[in-house]
């Protein structure tokens, strides 16, 4: 591996200042599971690697009791999310997505923020955060700004972050009652594999437990960036959710997707799986909503 100087700032401001000092010869690093591979392979050759792991505020994971807003620090690892009861019980779509990223060893190191910034079309971590209307806080030389997670991605490996900016946290607005969410990483095997297609569905229903008031259908590996199938979402909103309607939504989502042939799979197969899995994930959302309603 090409030698570099490893810098370990204690605050975000210090990290941004270090980047300002070294400019394009520097790279930020979170868990390192992508950056170290890229340095080893020579795809990236920084003279300075700025480690963000020692910055205390970036490891937060909590729900604000008063507002219901969930905060996920950018340096929270996939394993920490997977093992959090809060995530497992209240944000099943996040649990579904992070519990099969890489391997446990990778999840113990890799972070949710790093997963977003790596910006691969298959980013398992991005899909649930888009479905949950997550917002990313970016801090850089020119101050702070926030961007919806769905708007973070420009194209494969490229985000809207400007040089020197750091993703510090993701916030998720309070979930309304009667929300169900689910994700499936669809592929040949669960571990150590990128999905053939990633499908996340979030449904909110009215008090009648049938009428959909909000739908989110998010797809990974269905285009150059993670995307939302908005026509399919609109089909569901305002309607009673049935298995038949979910099938129609699946068809629409498959049509909206920009899937293509790749070494891992064929476009037609991906479309078929979107069609099938949108319905299945939708039904799982309903199961979750009804189960919770019974408990209440």
């Amino acid at each position: 591996m090409k030698p570099f100087t490893y810098l370990i700032p204690a605050t975000v401001e210090e990290a941004v200042a270090l980047f300002g000092q070294h400019k394009e010869t520097a790279r930020y690093m979170a868990g390192g599971t992508d950056v170290i591979v890229k340095v080893k392979e020579g795809w990236m050759a920084p003279d300075y690697l700025i480690n963000l792991k020692q910055i205390p505020g970036l490891h937060d994971l909590h729900k604000n009791g008063a507002t219901g807003e969930l905060t996920i620090g950018a340096l929270v690892t996939h394993a920490e999310l997977e093992q959090s009861l809060l995530i497992r019980n209240e944000y099943p779509i996040i649990y579904d997505a992070v519990s099969n990223i890489g391997s446990l060893q990778v999840r113990n190191m890799g972070t949710i923020g790093g997963n977003l910034i790596n910006a691969v079309p298959s980013a398992d971590g991005a899909i649930p955060l888009i479905a949950l209307d997550g917002k990313a806080l970016l801090v850089g030389p020119d101050g702070e700004r926030s961007v919806m997670v769905k708007d973070l991605f420009v194209k494969p490996y490229e985000t809207v972050l400007t040089p020197g900016e750091i993703l510090t946290k993701i916030t998720i607005p309070a979930q309304v009652p009667r929300t169900g969410s689910a994700y499936i990483k669809f592929g040949r095997r669960a571990a150590m594999e990128l999905p053939l297609i990633g499908i996340g569905v979030l449904l909110v229903v009215d008090e009648d437990l049938v009428t959909c008031t909000r739908a989110r259908i998010c797809l990974g590996v269905a285009g150059p960036t993670p995307l939302r199938a908005q026509k399919a979402e609109q089909l569901l909103e305002g309607q009673p959710v049935t298995s038949e309607l979910l099938t129609e939504a699946g068809k629409l989502a498959a049509e909206e997707s920009q899937v293509r042939d790749s070494v891992r799979g064929q476009a037609w197969h991906r479309k078929e799986m979107i069609r099938v899995q949108v319905r299945r994930m939708g039904l799982r959302c309903l199961d979750i909503i009804i189960h919770k309603a019974r408990q209440a």
Partner: protein, 186 residues
């Protein structure tokens, strides 16, 4: 850049001069002579290099040596006690035929240890989930899973991390190039 780090390695306080771009795997194998930890793919795909850092299984090929400053690191060399008796997981791999060529074995055992230390009663699904990042190219995984399950039963019976050789840290100073540390495995 060169810096000095200190950490607990298999129970011993350890001081090392390292270079910033060294991985933990490089430090262990090339500088400290602890060659029990294997390098397979070098990219976090195979799990052969798995070690435990502060109770978590990690790929030492992706973990920078600088990041173990102040942490506890366990490698396969730390499992057997010096009198020669194996850790229950090691013994179980021997007894249940969980080893063929042996290259993946240290990583398998470290992944298993990270799991069983936390939850010796882990069911088969939990074992599979924890070992999914450890690839064995010889053959099937059945005997490996059996080995872990049997070790778990034994560890649940008597919770003895003392027997694993992680008693009080002594104070041994190892410097890069000091090969004596590797003798345990050879």
């Amino acid at each position: 850049m060169t810096k000095t780090i200190s950490f607990i390695l298999n129970g011993d306080e350890t001081f090392c001069d390292i270079r910033d771009h060294w991985t933990l795997l490089h430090l262990l194998r090339e500088e400290l002579g602890l060659i029990g930890t294997k390098e397979g793919c070098g990219n976090g795909e195979c799990g052969a290099c798995t070690v435990i850092v502060d109770q978590l299984a990690v790929n030492s090929c992706l973990y920078l040596a600088a990041d173990v400053q102040g942490k506890q690191v366990q490698t396969i060399e730390g499992l057997a006690v010096h009198t020669g008796s194996l850790h229950p997981i090691q013994q179980s791999f021997v007894d249940n035929g969980g080893i063929q060529c042996g290259f993946c074995t240290p990583g398998m055992i470290m992944s298993a240890k990270a799991l069983l230390d936390k939850d010796p009663k882990a069911d088969q699904e939990a074992v599979k989930h924890a070992l999914a990042g450890n690839i064995c190219r010889c053959t099937g995984y059945v005997q490996i899973l059996d080995s872990v399950a049997a070790a778990g039963r034994q560890m649940a019976g008597k919770k003895t991390d003392k027997a694993a050789g992680f008693s009080d840290p002594g104070s041994v100073t190892r410097q890069p190039g000091d090969q004596t540390a590797g003798e345990v495995t050879r």
